[in-house]
């Protein structure tokens, strides 16, 4: 798959994916990056992820708390807020609609060729 296009798609949905991952429980930056990579989105660099988290925090969709670690350094843990959960629900619905519409168009092309 083209790297550029994939990167563009990812840019459009990364914040929503972060919200989705946080819905399963609070997490810190590196852990989030791992989860997203495991889900198949490929390696997410820190330089990309943390600004997104900052924006979400500023918009009130996630809250953050520093937790001192007995095993390792203090880490900043992010949790989904109520507003974040609402946004995630709406986004999920919007995405399904959007993906369905795009899929239908692309399927037409394929069907048209046969």
């Amino acid at each position: 798959m083209e790297q550029d296009r994939r990167a563009q798609w990812l840019r459009g949905v990364l914040d929503l994916c972060v919200l989705g991952t946080l819905a399963r429980g609070e997490s810190y930056g590196y852990q989030l990056a791992q989860a997203l990579a495991d889900a198949g989105l490929g390696p997410i660099q820190g330089g990309t992820l943390y600004p997104v988290l900052l924006r979400l925090q500023r918009a009130g969709l996630v809250a953050a708390r520093w937790r001192g670690g007995t095993s390792g350094p203090a880490r900043k843990y992010y949790q989904l807020t109520a507003a974040g959960a609402t946004r995630l629900r709406h986004a999920g619905a919007e995405w399904s609609t959007f993906a369905g519409q795009v899929g239908a168009i692309l399927a037409q092309e394929a069907a048209g060729e046969n």
């Binding site: 810190y28 930056g29 590196y30 990056a33 660099q45 820190g46 330089g47 943390y50 600004p51 997104v52 900052l54 924006r55 500023r58 520093w66 390792g72 350094p73 203090a74 880490r75 900043k76």
Partner: protein, 274 residues
């Protein structure tokens, strides 16, 4: 780049972008933890510190909130009806500029639109054909270059200019070095002005204009030869001086800081209108 060097650079860049000390600490600590967990080299995980810092600053910034408690004071510089002609050409046509204490005015315009001339008139170094200028308080002026003695060292300059402002030698040196440090410059003792690089000479120029805390500061594109970090430091300082009550006029043709200034005087338009 080694991790601690990268983190230190990141901290510096964040401060340059005006990110507060608390948030800077958090961002740097979080990046450090991420690098420790992932084991990735910092340039691969985050990119160059300037770029990451810019991305963070973008994420955090929004429309600049009015700085709490910043009051705008009385008029410190009032220029009215300034007109200047060189031979047949009208360089300035009936220009007005009013700047109050605690305000920054940017003067913009194309080359030749009279920006420097206006500042020189306000500083009393040139005479207009018509118009008046009123200045309340003390005036500091930083031309695009010059204004220094080639064979004296920066410290000697501080003492010389400081004595005019009524500062003792030690106070003059202390204030001069402090303002220099804010521009990321530590003057080496014994180095004469003629041996300084262009950008460093301009830092001296700017520091001398500011010495003694003048009430009105006229700055004519003083950032010639500054690297990008120093350029950001310069604007950072301008806004700090403003918050301290100075009235500042900056001539510039670089427009990226305009949304933070209080007044913009566009000489191209006013010249065209004449």
């Amino acid at each position: 780049m080694r991790t601690d060097a990268w983190l230190a650079a990141l901290a510096g860049e964040l401060q340059r972008h005006g990110v507060g000390a608390d948030l800077t600490g958090h961002v740097v600590a979080e990046a450090a933890a991420h690098l420790a967990d992932s084991g990735d080299p910092p340039l691969a995980a985050f990119g160059p510190p300037e770029m990451y810092a810019a991305a963070v600053a973008d994420s955090v910034a929004g429309p600049a909130p009015a700085a709490p408690g910043r009051t705008v004071g009385p008029v410190r510089l009032a220029a009215r009806g300034i007109t200047k002609r060189y031979r047949r050409r009208t360089v300035l046509a009936d220009v007005d500029l009013t700047v109050r204490a605690g305000e920054v005015a940017a003067v913009i315009g194309q080359n030749g639109s009279g920006k420097s001339t206006l500042l020189r008139i306000c500083a009393g170094l040139a005479r207009p054909d018509r118009g008046t200028v009123h200045v309340a308080g003390r005036l500091g002026y930083c031309p695009q270059d010059g204004g220094m003695s080639e064979f004296l060292t920066p410290d000697e300059h501080f003492v010389l200019v400081g004595a005019g402002r009524g500062l003792s030698r030690t106070a003059a040196r202390r204030y001069g070095r402090r303002d220099a440090a804010a521009l990321d410059w530590a003057p080496k003792p014994g180095v004469q002005a003629r041996h300084l690089s262009g950008g460093t000479r301009q830092k001296l120029n700017l520091t001398l204009a500011r010495l003694g805390d003048p009430d009105v500061l006229l700055l004519d594109e003083p950032y010639q030869g500054f690297d990008r970090g120093s350029y950001l430091d310069f604007w950072h300082q301008v806004f700090r001086w403003r918050d301290g009550g100075a009235a500042i006029v900056v001539v510039t043709h670089l427009l990226n800081q305009l949304d933070r200034v209080d007044t913009v005087l566009d000489l191209t338009r006013s010249e065209a209108a004449a």
